[in-house]
Every structure is written in structure tokens, then in C-alpha cells.
């Protein structure tokens, strides 16, 4: 069972520095929390580039292709009708919907991606057990490390050493 060690820092520089230090110390399961994105925290935590753009591209392309194929198949193949002497498959008329479905699917893909990649929805998380952590969405800057219960004490000390204003330990509850 994992233990989360949470530490609050008073400014971004301290937070980034602490993150970097913790990583140097071999901590892998690190995360930082802040009301707004923190400059440099991605490198500090060694986070890889987000996959969201790729997913958006896939969503958009499949929307465009799907949208066009749908129109072509429905009006041009499955039930071709003579509509005002226009060809059953009328490419210029298919542009708007192709575009719209591309945007729609891309957007939905993006939103689903950002939610799922961020591990959401997850109403409960062990870090929420720390009362003080409520500042993380308002004005606080927090760093967390997920460590085996045995290592908890060491990490707490290390973080205090890095200038954390407060450090809390919380154990992941049995679900």
C-alpha cells in the first residue's frame, strides 16, 4: 500500500527546485499541484510531451474522413437521387459537413483525452485526505510523492529540508 507525502511550497521556484531535487533522489511517482500551471514544472518533474495533439489529429482526421464518406455513401451510393440535377455525389456541397464533423470529432477527442489522460474522473484521491491540500486549487503550491509506506518518513524529512512550509503524510485507503 502506497503512501503519499504532500508538501506545500510558498513559491514556484521552490516548488520546481524541490521537484528537481526529489527526482534526483530517485523518486519517480512525483506530482505537483497548483491553481495555475507552473512554469518549468514539466521539466522539473520530467514529464513527457502530451499526447493530446496526436489524439486531436486522429479525431479530426477520422471526423473528416468519416463525415465525407458518410455523405458520399448515403447520397451517392446507397440511395442516389436526382436532386435538382445535381450529381448524387456532389463534392462541393459536402465540404461544410466534412469540416464540421472534423472539428466535432477532434474536439470531443481532445476533451476525452484530457480527462482520461489526467486520470479523471476521479472524485476521490488520497491527496484529498489532507485538509490543507484544499489550497492547491486556490493559492497553494504542492508537491506529492507516492512512496512505499516504509520510505515515507525519509521523504517527509527530505521535503522539509527543501523548504516546504508544511508536509503531510497520507496512506492510500483500502477501497
Amino acid at each position: 500500500m502506497a503512501t503519499y507525502v504532500l508538501a506545500e511550497f510558498k513559491d514556484e521556484a521552490a516548488l520546481c527546485a524541490a521537484a528537481r531535487r526529489m527526482r534526483e533522489l530517485g523518486q519517480k511517482q512525483l506530482d505537483a499541484y497548483s491553481p495555475v500551471p507552473v512554469h518549468g514544472i514539466d521539466e522539473a518533474l520530467g514529464l513527457p510531451k502530451s499526447k493530446v495533439p496526436l489524439i486531436a489529429l486522429i479525431g479530426g482526421l477520422s471526423g473528416a474522413v468519416g463525415g465525407y464518406v458518410m455523405q458520399w455513401w448515403m447520397n451517392g451510393v446507397d440511395y442516389p437521387l436526382n436532386v435538382a440535377n445535381r450529381g448524387a455525389h456532389a463534392p462541393p456541397a459536402n465540404i461544410p459537413i466534412t469540416f464540421e464533423s472534423a472539428i466535432l470529432l477532434a474536439s470531443i477527442a481532445i476533451v476525452l483525452a484530457v480527462i482520461l489522460l489526467s486520470g479523471l474522473p476521479r472524485l476521490h484521491h488520497p491527496v484529498f485526505d489532507v485538509e490543507g491540500f484544499r489550497t492547491a486549487s486556490l493559492d497553494g503550491l504542492w508537491l506529492s510523492a507516492e512512496v512505499p509506506a516504509a520510505e515515507g518518513e525519509g521523504v517527509v524529512r527530505e521535503l522539509q529540508k527543501l523548504g516546504a512550509t508544511q508536509v503531510e503524510r497520507v496512506a492510500e485507503e483500502q477501497r
Binding site: N82, V83, A84, N85, R86, G87
Partner: protein
């Protein structure tokens, strides 16, 4: 209604060889099975049909009900029942298949032959009978609209004497007893007031009554009768003759206030003959019309002379003067007189003389006998008699004018009448202002009134009898040329009612036999011997009794008598003149309860649901009134209120007042619509009178509901009008032919049919028959005045009317406008659900059941021919009203777009019929409802893939153009420009 069941009549189908086999017919009114009228809720006549067991039993539609009463319902309804025959008729009708029966409809004395379409025993449509000389296949709006009267749920039902209701048998008994009381004094106190009707059977019954009651008297009354014509002939020739015009021979026509293309007993035939000679070339006829209000005929004229009705005689005399002085027709010399339009009169006279023998002068039925006599004299002098006009012994010769009514009223008021039988149409309402018939009737102990509906006359009468509709009873009738038709029923009476024949027969104790027996026996007697049954079937099948037309005879006018009458006629007086006209749609008001006609736009003014005091714009200005102003009209001692409407081309100082409106007791449709002008009429001056005073009332304006508010083409090439001599195909080159497009035109040559239509504007008179025919054929709802005011009328086919030239003397074009079936239809590509698309044969299809009602198609239709069901116009139909529906056409629900389909149901019927037989559809095998109705043959429909078809020829005409051609819609309906043939001396 057991007693009403005609014994065992049979109905040979039109166009089918008849057999002598007994084929029995009863009714099909189970369709109507109205609990209120049927003895048992279902299959009433099954229970009470004659015991011979051969009568046809109830046949509730096998597949019909669903389609007949169709609505676009998407849910799964409960399982329906299928009701088959118990015993099929000997020659069973195919379920859901149309058969046609020939009959005839009488209006104002004379009959028009019709073919009635019947589905499963339900008459659903009236067509003209091509074999009938007064129809030639065309049909008028009144014949068409009669069908709606048949199914009117508010028709009179049953028989009432005072407050008590009478059953059929007891009614006949009581009538018989009443008749017996008159036996003693030879019927001295017994009177009859009938409508004009040339029916031989009625004549015979009258004779029989006269035999039993030698002192009884018959009166006839028509509010808009043809007395003047008969009187004029009597004046000129000294005997009763009918005037028969032969327009196929006439090249120059002068109409003295004669609206012969629309009104009149022979209008359909005259329209066809007239239009046949409106082709460009030396043979093209020329029409002059002298009249006050713009009539359909006036609108078709090459020259119109705007004259007060009282000035028409003077114009005719001036023509006579020129003919006498310049062209040496001395016989006319005693007739001459002055006119204010001398130049025009001279030109007309010259023109008439140039075409002598092939010219024709016609006089209108509103003009006094002197004008008719003058016309006879002119025709005789011009050598037209026997060529463009024939005279034959009168088919009907009774006085029907208001004088008759006045005499009757006087006798009644004097207490000289005990029993008065009224079958004339609503005389209390139509009586002139100086004939107080209502008060006079109160003095008659027994007033027996036979009428289709409760009306103004009903409460004044002590006996109220519901009349059977002409489609419900047997009778006979004569056309204007004397041709006899047997009137045969198409359905058992929907409501308890009886016919005029039965009422009269009850006075000779013969009614018990029923109309069928009375009629058949009468004809059997008349025919004598031979194979009567076979003849009878043939008459019924063809709709005419052969060799019954009157034979023309030579007749020479007595110029001196004519001259005396002409000189005795009162001169035109200065000042405002009142001119009464029978309304184009409602006539004398008898069609006031007919919603199809009420909503039909007036052919000239396009007003629906109203009449108006029509006057010239200049006169309106002088009087300080404008469209919709309410005015008080005073004439003699009488006054009425009305609202005015200005009509370009109307004569000045005349107010035209159409009869037939302002009904006080018509029904939910007609009551209170328009203004009753009858109080201003007098028995002496029923049609026009000087001394009219008009006082604006200055109150709120009357809301008129015209379907067209704008009559100028704004310089656009829409309804084209050219002088025949000035016209050349190059003038319309830009309005036809291929248009540049990036779309490759669809190839329709793979299909055997390519439907199209051609409309010849030169032939079209704008009479509006087609519009009513379309309404009847395609289940088009009536929406009411409120909705018309909101511009939501539903007519698929509208007749646009454009005025060009000056407002004083405009030229007119009528343009039937319906879906043009554009090959690149703008409506189609905007429909999001593919509810309107093109068929493989090039029809612009409207799929009601797919329509969600975005109305985008209508916005994008440049012709604005699409109609939208803004409200549920069908929701509260009574069972009988549903019966008028054509089962071949879906009844549209609320929220659905609709439009002309080129009568696709007829196309599909014809296609299936021909393909089952393994052949192609022949040209002319079927046509659209509008084309079929058109008396002038202006509309032609057919297969454009067949270069020999009539419509292909129209499409190749040098006069052909497309409306809004520059839009590239490539319409399938082509128009042919209207050509006029003006007299160069008058331009």
C-alpha cells in the same frame, strides 16, 4: 331511409358498352355511415334493402378507407377491419378503382353534360362530357364545385311541416291530401314557383298538374336568368327562338356587354370555339367588347370599350349607323343612334363589315331585349345569320324575370294563394328590393319549400323539404341546343331528401313510384316501342340522348319592330349608374355555401370570400374612396352598405354590384360574407339603373382578401403579351433554349416518358375552371378568409392576372401558375430531408410523408407555387366531407408542404394500366385535372419524349417561352405568349 331506395335502377359506366343484363345498384353510403342519419351505426342499408336480394350491399372500402381518409400518421394504429361484400354485384366494381358515369347538371335552365368519377360508389370528381355539345369535355367551376355541395354535412335533412317532422311516406301522403283540397276549384289557389329548367320530365309533370288543376299557375324565377335573350328573339323574329353562336366561323366579334366566355348557358362550348381561332395569322379572330365592369370576356378582348351598361345600346346603334351610312346596309338605317365613342364604333363597324358573313354581334343577358334585337338586326344585315349565328326553336320559353316574382308576390299579398310550392333557388333572398316576397309569403297558408339547404326562404315557408342533390336523384335535362341528358344518381341520398320531380309528382299522386320510375316511364312513353332498355342504357352510358338537339331554322328579323324597340329604350342618363352582375362564382348566391367557390379568387379582381362595389380608379378618386372604404349606396328609396374595390379598366361613373353575397342564412361558409346588393334592384330595372348615390361612411376599412395584391409585372418578362403582327420568335429568343450551366443535364431519354405541360396564354381566358378542378382532384383544403388574408391559400394552381398599359384601358393577361417542374428545381437541393426530389421521368416530386416542414423549398421557389399546411385544415371533417376526397391522393397533414404534382396519381394509374396490358401510354389517354377541365384547351399535358404528342408541339411552338428562364430552372411547363389582334385603326 328504406322508402327512398330507388327500386332497381342501373348505371351503365361511361364509355363502356352497355348490356341489357340487369345490373342493380343501391348505395354505398356506409362510407358515410353517420350514426345521426343511419338507422343502425353500421351498414344501414344492408338491413333494409329490397327483398329481391339482388341489390348491392354495403361495400365498405376494401383498401379504400385507409387511403380515402389518409393522414400522415406514423404510429402503428390498431388493426383495421376489412369489410367485404356479402353478395357482390353482378359486375363487381374493382375496389379502389375509378369509374365514370355520365350525367348532367342544370344551371339557369340549361344543362351541361358531365362525367362523374366514382370510387367505390363515391362520386369524387366532375369532368366535362366530351359527347355533350355544351361541354365538349370542358367543365365550368360551378359544375365542378357542385360536388362539394353533395357532401355538405349542413345540407337540409328530412322534411318539416311547421314544427313537426315528417317521414317520407307521410310527407307524400300529406302532400297528396293537400293537393286534393285544391281539386274543388281546379287549383285556383295553387301556385308553383320553379327555377328555370328545360327538363322534359318537369315539363311533362307540369302538364299533368295543369290537367288536374287547370287553374293552378306555374311561375318561374331566376335572379340572373336569360329572359332578355328570349325576349329579344321574340322581338326580332316574332317567335321564341334560341340564339346559337358559332364562334368557329366568326372572325370579328362584337360583344355588347356579353360575357359569353364565362356566363351563359353555352360558355364552355363558346370558349372552346373562340380559343380555337386565336392562333396568329390571317384567320386570327378579333374581339371587341363593350362593357362596364371587366369581365372574363372583356379581359380576352382585343379592344374594350368602357361604357355604362345603359350606353351599350347607343354604341350598338352607332355601329349600325356606320354600317348603314358608309357600308350601305340600309336595313339598319332606322336603328341608328349616337355614341360618345364614335371613332371606335366606326372602326368596329368597318371591321365587322370587312368580315361580313364571318363576323358576329353578341348581346349580353343583362342587356334589355332591344339590345338583343339590335344584335339580331346587325347580324342579319351583315349576313352572319346562318353562318356565325343560328336560330332554333326555344328549348325553354318561360318568363323567369323579376316581373314574374313581383306578380306572384302581389297575388300572395292579396291573399289569392293557399298553397305555394317553391323549388326556385332562394327567392326571398334574391328578390329585388321592391318585391317583398317575405311579407307576401306570410299571407300564404301553405308554403312548401324544397331546398338543398336552409336559407333565407326557409323560415318564411311552412313546409321545409330537403332537396336531393342532382347526384342523388333521377331526372333529365336539356342543354342549350336542346340535347337531352338523363340525370342519373351516383349515390343514394346521403340525407333524407327528395327531388323536385317527386314534389311535383306528388300533386298528381305519382310520387310513390319514385323519381326513377317516373322518369323511365315518361321516356318509355315518349320513345314508344323499340328496344327501350337498350336505348336507355346507351343514353345513360353516353350522357346524351341522341337526336334531341333542336334544328336550326332560318329567321329574318323585323327591322321595323327592332327599330321601334330600340328607339323606345331609355337613353343613358348622366351621373352614377348602378350595374348589377351575377357574381362569377356564386351567381345569384346559390353557391354561397360552397367553400371551393368562395375561396376561388375572382377571375379578374382575385378577391376571395367577398364581393365589392367595383368601380374605376377615377370614379373612386372622385368619390373620395379607396380600396376597402365602406360606403352607403342609395338607389331609388333603397340603401345598402358595401365596401369598394377599384378595378382598372372599369367604366367611369358606374358601380358594379355583384349579386349573391351578404347571405343572412346560408350556413357557416356563406353567412355574412360580402354585401347583399339585391335590395337595390327593382323588378323594373334588375340590371342597371341611373341615379346611384354613393356616400363614404368613413369608418374602418373592410378587409378584403385578394390572393394577388400586385398586378403589375414591374417590367419583368413573366406573362408575355404581344400584338400578333408585331410578334416574332426573336422577341422571346432570350426566354427559351438552353441556359449555360456547369451541371451536366440529366439524360431523361432512357425513360419512355418525359412529362411536360404547355400553357397557351392566348387561349387562356382566366375563367378559373382549372383551379377548381385541381382543388377537387387533389384534395386541396379550403382555408377560410382569415387564412387568405394571411396569404395562406392552398390552391396548387393559381391564375395570375397582370394588367399592363394605362389603368383606364389596361390590357390583361391571365397566367395559370403552378409547379413548373423545373429540371433543376431550386426547391429540391435546399430540402434537408430529400422530401422533394426528381423522378426518373422528370417530375418534381413532393413526398408529403417525408416532409418535416422547413418551408425552405418555398422560399427558394422563384414561382412561389408551393403551399404549406400552416394549420390543420383537415382536422374536423365530417364523415360526408371525407367522402369527397380523391382516394388516389394523400390527404396532407398539418405542417407539410404541398404543390402541383402534375396529377401524378393519374400518371401512375395510366402507367400501371398500360403496363399490365403490356403497351405504352398513348398521347391523350389521360391528362391532368386542369387540362381536362379547361374549356379553352389552353392547357396541354403529355409526354415530351414523344415528338408527336400535343404537348411536344406546343413546346416547339415559336411562341413558347419559359417563365424566369434566366434563372436556369429549365421548367417542364412552357408558356406560349399571348397574342392580341388589335385593330390598327384603333391603336
Amino acid at each position: 331511409m328504406p322508402s327512398l331506395t330507388p327500386p332497381v335502377p342501373k348505371l351503365p359506366i361511361y364509355g363502356q358498352p352497355s348490356s341489357d343484363g340487369r345490373r342493380h345498384w343501391q348505395s354505398l353510403d356506409a362510407l358515410a355511415a353517420e350514426p345521426a342519419t343511419a338507422p343502425s351505426p353500421e351498414f344501414p342499408e344492408g338491413a333494409d334493402s329490397p327483398p329481391d336480394g339482388l341489390a348491392r350491399r354495403t361495400f365498405l372500402q376494401i383498401l379504400g378507407a385507409s387511403t380515402a381518409l389518409a393522414s400522415l400518421d406514423a404510429c402503428r394504429p390498431p388493426r383495421q377491419k376489412i369489410i367485404p361484400y356479402v353478395r357482390p354485384p353482378e359486375k363487381p366494381l374493382l375496389p379502389n378503382t375509378a369509374v365514370h358515369y355520365a350525367s348532367a347538371l342544370t344551371l339557369n335552365g340549361y344543362a351541361t353534360g358531365v362525367l362523374v368519377t366514382s370510387y367505390d360508389g363515391r362520386p369524387t370528381k366532375v369532368e366535362g362530357n366530351p359527347d355533350h355539345p355544351s361541354s365538349l369535355g370542358g367543365v365550368g367551376m360551378h359544375e365542378l364545385a357542385t360536388l362539394l355541395d353533395l357532401y355538405d354535412p349542413r345540407r337540409a335533412k328530412g322534411f318539416r311541416r311547421g314544427q313537426s317532422t315528417l317521414a317520407y311516406r307521410s310527407l307524400l301522403r300529406e302532400l297528396s291530401a293537400l293537393a286534393a283540397t285544391h281539386q274543388a276549384d281546379g287549383g285556383a289557389r295553387l301556385r308553383f314557383l320553379l327555377g328555370a329548367n328545360a327538363s322534359p320530365l318537369l315539363a311533362e309533370l307540369k302538364k299533368r298538374i295543369q290537367q288536374r288543376f287547370p287553374r293552378a299557375r306555374f311561375h318561374a324565377y331566376e335572379a340572373a336568368g336569360h329572359d332578355a335573350e328570349r325576349e329579344g328573339a321574340r322581338l326580332a323574329f316574332g317567335r321564341a327562338l334560341d340564339v346559337r353562336h358559332r364562334l368557329d366561323e366568326a372572325r370579328v366579334l362584337l360583344s355588347l356587354d356579353a360575357d359569353f366566355l364565362c356566363h351563359g348557358p353555352d360558355g364552355l362550348r363558346l370558349a372552346r370555339e373562340f380559343s380555337a381561332h386565336r392562333e396568329s395569322g390571317p384567320e386570327m379572330s378579333r374581339l371587341y367588347v363593350a362593357e362596364a365592369h371587366l369581365s372574363v370576356t372583356g379581359a380576352a378582348a382585343d379592344h374594350r370599350f368602357r361604357l355604362k351598361p345603359s350606353e351599350v345600346l347607343g354604341f350598338g346603334r352607332a355601329v349600325a349607323a356606320r354600317l348603314a351610312s358608309t357600308h350601305g346596309l340600309g336595313a339598319l338605317a332606322p336603328l341608328v343612334g349616337p355614341t360618345r365613342l364614335a371613332r371606335e364604333a366606326n372602326a368596329v363597324a368597318d371591321d365587322l363589315f370587312r368580315s361580313r358573313g364571318r363576323s358576329l354581334v353578341l348581346a349580353g343577358s343583362r342587356q334589355p331585349a332591344a339590345v338583343h334585337a339590335l344584335a339580331h338586326a346587325l347580324n342579319a344585315a351583315l349576313g352572319n345569320a346562318g353562318r356565325t349565328v343560328e336560330y332554333a326553336p326555344a328549348v325553354y320559353d318561360e318568363a323567369t324575370g323579376p316581373g314574374e316574382l313581383a306578380a306572384l308576390a302581389a297575388d300572395a299579398a292579396a291573399g289569392k294563394i293557399d298553397t305555394l310550392v317553391i323549388t326556385a333557388a332562394n327567392p326571398v333572398y334574391t328578390a329585388p328590393g321592391d318585391v317583398d316576397l317575405a311579407a307576401a309569403l306570410a299571407k300564404v297558408p301553405n308554403t312548401i319549400y324544397l331546398a338543398l339547404r336552409e336559407d333565407e326562404t326557409s323560415p318564411r315557408c311552412t313546409w321545409n323539404l330537403a332537396a336531393a342533390h342532382p347526384f342523388e336523384t333521377w331526372g333529365d335535362a336539356r342543354g342549350h341546343d336542346g340535347t337531352v341528358s338523363i340525370v342519373q344518381p351516383l349515390i343514394q341520398p346521403l340525407f333524407e331528401s327528395l327531388s323536385e320531380v317527386e314534389v311535383l309528382a306528388s300533386f298528381v299522386d305519382a310520387a310513390d313510384a319514385g323519381a326513377w320510375t317516373i322518369l323511365r316511364e315518361s321516356w318509355q312513353r315518349r320513345r314508344g316501342g323499340g328496344n327501350f332498355a337498350g336505348d336507355w342504357d346507351r343514353w345513360l352510358a353516353r350522357g346524351v340522348v341522341p337526336d334531341t338537339a333542336t334544328v336550326a331554322e332560318p329567321a329574318a328579323p323585323r327591322f321595323d319592330a327592332v327599330a321601334a324597340a330600340v328607339r323606345a329604350a331609355p337613353a343613358s342618363a348622366a351621373g352614377l349608374e348602378a350595374s348589377f352582375v351575377p357574381d362569377t362564382k356564386l351567381l345569384d348566391g346559390r353557391f354561397a355555401e360552397n367553400a371551393w367557390l368562395q375561396e376561388l379568387p375572382d377571375p379578374i379582381t382575385k378577391i376571395t370570400w367577398d364581393n365589392a362595389a367595383y368601380l374605376a380608379p377615377a370614379t373612386a378618386k372622385k368619390l373620395g374612396v379607396e380600396n376597402g372604404s365602406k360606403v352607403e349606396l342609395r338607389l331609388g328609396g333603397n340603401k345598402i352598405e358595401a365596401a369598394v374595390w377599384t378595378v382598372p379598366g372599369h367604366a367611369e361613373d358606374v358601380v358594379t354590384l355583384p349579386l349573391g353575397y351578404g347571405r343572412r342564412r346560408a350556413g357557416p361558409v356563406g353567412t355574412g360574407v360580402g354585401f347583399d346588393v339585391a335590395p337595390l334592384r327593382t323588378a323594373a330595372t334588375p340590371w342597371f339603373a341611373p341615379g346611384l348615390a354613393v356616400a363614404p361612411l368613413g369608418r374602418a376599412k373592410h378587409a378584403f382578401a385578394p390572393t394577388q395584391e400586385h398586378f403589375s409585372m414591374e417590367g419583368r418578362d413573366i406573362a408575355l403579351l404581344f400584338d400578333a403582327k408585331a410578334f416574332g420568335p426573336e422577341k422571346i429568343e432570350h426566354l427559351r433554349g438552353p441556359v449555360p450551366t456547369i451541371q451536366k443535364p440529366v439524360d431523361y431519354s432512357k425513360e419512355p416518358y418525359k412529362w411536360g405541360m404547355g400553357i397557351d396564354l392566348t387561349k387562356c381566358t382566366g375563367c378559373s375552371s382549372c383551379a377548381v378542378a385541381c382543388q377537387a382532384e387533389n384534395n386541396i383544403p379550403v382555408v377560410g378568409k382569415e387564412q387568405v388574408l394571411r396569404s395562406r391559400e392552398m390552391n396548387w394552381l393559381r391564375i395570375d392576372r397582370y394588367f399592363t398599359g394605362s389603368p383606364e384601358d389596361p390590357q390583361l393577361v391571365a397566367q395559370p401558375m403552378m409547379c413548373q417542374h423545373c429540371e433543376t428545381a431550386p426547391c429540391e437541393y435546399v430540402c434537408p430531408v430529400n422530401a422533394t426530389v426528381h423522378s426518373d421521368e422528370g417530375l418534381n416530386e413532393m413526398v408529403y410523408n417525408r416532409c418535416v416542414g422547413t418551408r425552405y423549398c418555398s422560399n427558394n421557389c422563384p414561382y412561389k407555387v408551393r403551399r404549406f399546411n400552416f394549420l390543420d385544415y383537415r382536422g374536423d371533417m365530417s364523415p360526408t366531407e371525407k367522402m369527397v376526397m380523391n382516394p388516389d391522393v394523400t390527404v396532407r397533414t398539418r405542417g407539410v408542404m404541398e404543390k402541383c404534382s402534375y396529377c401524378v396519381q393519374r400518371i401512375e394509374r395510366a402507367r400501371i394500366g398500360s403496363r399490365v396490358e403490356g403497351r405504352k401510354i398513348k398521347d391523350g389517354e389521360f391528362t391532368t385535372a386542369c387540362a381536362q377541365a379547361c374549356p379553352a384547351n389552353a392547357i396541354v399535358f403529355g409526354n415530351l419524349a414523344d415528338p408527336e404528342s400535343a404537348v411536344s408541339k406546343l413546346h416547339q411552338s415559336e411562341r413558347r417561352y419559359d417563365v424566369l428562364h434566366e434563372l436556369g430552372t429549365r421548367p417542364r411547363t412552357a408558356y406560349l405568349v399571348r397574342l392580341r389582334n388589335p385593330n390598327p385603326e384603333l391603336t
